[in-house]
Symmetry: C4
Subunit: 229 residues, 4 copies
């Protein structure tokens, strides 16, 4: 079942090592079929060079495994909560990509310092709070999702398709699995640029709002004119 989606999710997973975003098995990608209410996710702890499309695990939105011989990613419950809360998204990625993870470990949101950021993310990329000991103890992965959702209470997840989880690492999402990986690549790149920016100029200010608006809108607004129609 969902052979096409499994293949898409498999390909999106394989893009992670190709783009240098992961070491060993430190990442996972999922994609959802909204009509069927099922999502497909990488199995837990399987080496990327042994992964096959048919290893992908099919889950329903109650957290039941619908198909698959292997255990789903240990982060499945986080993906599940995000799919339920963010209805417009079609794919989710988690990595420990080094530069984004460094910002997460520093507990800092990524400010918008330039157009590279503004072309993809409208405003800062927030850093979600730590889970409480209670939230960690019981339902850790589900609560990781809940805290991300709390972080987006006043944010539009389509306009800011990424979050940093404090002392952990990034989650990104998008209209499908491939797009979510694209956003993970962009996040890592701006995490690197912004690190160097701050080293070069302590106290540097975010890019002017008018510039942020312009770049986000020329790619994502109703009158977008970037690319081919």
């Amino acid at each position: 079942m969902l052979e096409e989606l499994k293949k898409e999710v498999y390909e999106a997973n394989m893009e992670l090592p190709r783009r240098g975003l992961i070491t060993y098995t430190w990442g996972n990608v999922s994609g959802i079929d909204r009509e069927k209410g099922l999502f497909v996710i990488k199995p837990s702890g399987v080496d990327y060079d042994k992964l096959k499309p048919e290893d992908m695990v099919v889950m329903d939105l109650n957290g039941n495994k619908v198909e698959g011989d292997l255990n789903p990613s240990s982060d499945t419950a986080t993906h599940l909560e995000l799919y339920k809360a963010f209805e417009e998204i079609g794919g989710i990625v988690h990595t420990h990509s080094p530069m984004a993870t460094a910002w997460a470990q520093a507990g800092r949101a990524l400010p918008c310092y330039g157009t590279t950021h503004a072309d993809y993310f409208y405003g800062e990329i927030p850093c979600a709070r730590n889970l409480t000991p209670e939230e960690i103890e019981e339902g850790y992965e589900k609560n990781t999702g809940m805290v991300i959702i709390e972080t987006f209470r006043d944010r539009n997840p389509v306009h800011v398709p990424a979050v940093l989880c404090k002392n952990h690492g990034p989650f990104t999402w998008g209209k499908d699995a491939a797009n979510a990986v694209h956003n993970a690549v962009v996040l890592e790149e701006i995490a690197k640029m912004n690190f160097v920016t701050e080293m070069l100029s302590r106290g540097v200010e975010p890019a002017p709002q008018s510039m942020q608006d312009k770049h986000f809108m020329r790619k994502h607004g109703p009158n977008a004119y970037y690319g081919q129609k």
Copy 2:
């Protein structure tokens, strides 16, 4: 038309991912035929691994598309202004290469700290000011060019073939498209070196003027003696 120039511009564009200067489609190269008054530029948002020489778009200096099925780069109006104002240049590159972009995001000119810089750029590489909200609102890409030209009012663009656009990224140029890419590679390399230099020694001074003169002149002066004649 302009088959030779299209091929040159195509090859120069393909050099960007090979040199690690771009992620996804974050860059564009153009080249001009001064006699015909036409320039050739990458189409907007097309993946580098799908790009073909015949996809290059031909533009005139009034901003009209003369040939090509695809939309030209969204930055075409910036290239156009630079070709009109800087009459000696034959090629232009825009990238978001990470180290140069970090300096642009920090709003800082690149000081000349050594001979690597002085071999290519005479004096600091300036950082152009931000556009005003009005300049962004109406004719953003054309005004990006106008602000670069304003930055070079008292500078020779042949002696300093690069600029950083604040909160955005670098533009470089050269005698042709390939040479403009060469300068983009050099810029990224010195942006990296100079970052580390400042980290190692806060308050470090630029290289002595006599050394800057010597290195620029031994490669570019009337009595240049670097390389083969």
Copy 3:
């Protein structure tokens, strides 16, 4: 003799250059056969691209060469002491991987700033003290091992399978040679992340203890649920 172990240790050694952990011959891996009381180690100063499984040197736990035409690694006496003191370990790695070595040169333990660290190492990765001039003069490599053992007097080497030797570099270990290399790769990655973390936020605190417990235990505890059973 020990053909299978020689092959494993050879393969683990070859993984070091593939993972970018070493320059030239700056590293060595060994593996032990606990039943026979013999360990196999890389020969000293042999280029990785000329190394063959049959070049591996077999040593006993008294430091005698049991088999092999070549001299064993100059760090053999360190490996020997660690095998004798840490009875649960099956493989050891020494490298000069750049980021871990930088922490060692700074004389600093690696704090646990996030889950990437906590997934593998329980608590900080300690930095062993410098050897005294006397310890250096006589039995330097053996004493390097003794000082590592001293550092783990109140630590469990299975829970913290790595150490930084001050002004020198890292040693890691694991259940076998391949696992010890795996830990060396992880160590280098977190050394990089943690460096950037500190640059982004001077005075940053370690990850909450409850989070460290959770991540270490979900991979290594009695009820571990990461990966496939």
Copy 4:
């Protein structure tokens, strides 16, 4: 003539791009035949992917070209002075490798922070002073050599086979061209490690002298025991 040496010097030059030490043509390697009093050096400004062994230029120690169709490296006069002053050396390398160049631009000697350094260089790697405007004006490349020699007035160039030229970049040397390149690779690696070391601990001290002695001597002393005899 000197076909064997030309091939060695060619191979040593080609190792520079393979090891990531150079961008474009920013480096050169030479090797000397002490008996004949002739040295072989890369031609100036020739692309590495077009270089052939027969392009190498043969020079005598008076600075005359003895054989070769191309101009020798613009840094030939520097190599010449070093060969005359440092009689034990057989090969010389100049690069603009980024991390070593950053230290040179910062005008700072590389302190010995660990055994990676001490395995190859005995004590700090000095930074030579800037040339005076007069030294730059007349005989710049020869004077670059003279200032390096001045820097080694109280140093043994065999024990410290590298120097940083202020605001310029590194020169390294060795018993032959290949060994000089080996030292250039090591220099870049420790320049990177030492940069991170200082960022992690401002005010960090050099490695203890006894440790520096031990590591240099176990590889280079009369009783060296590293590697195979």
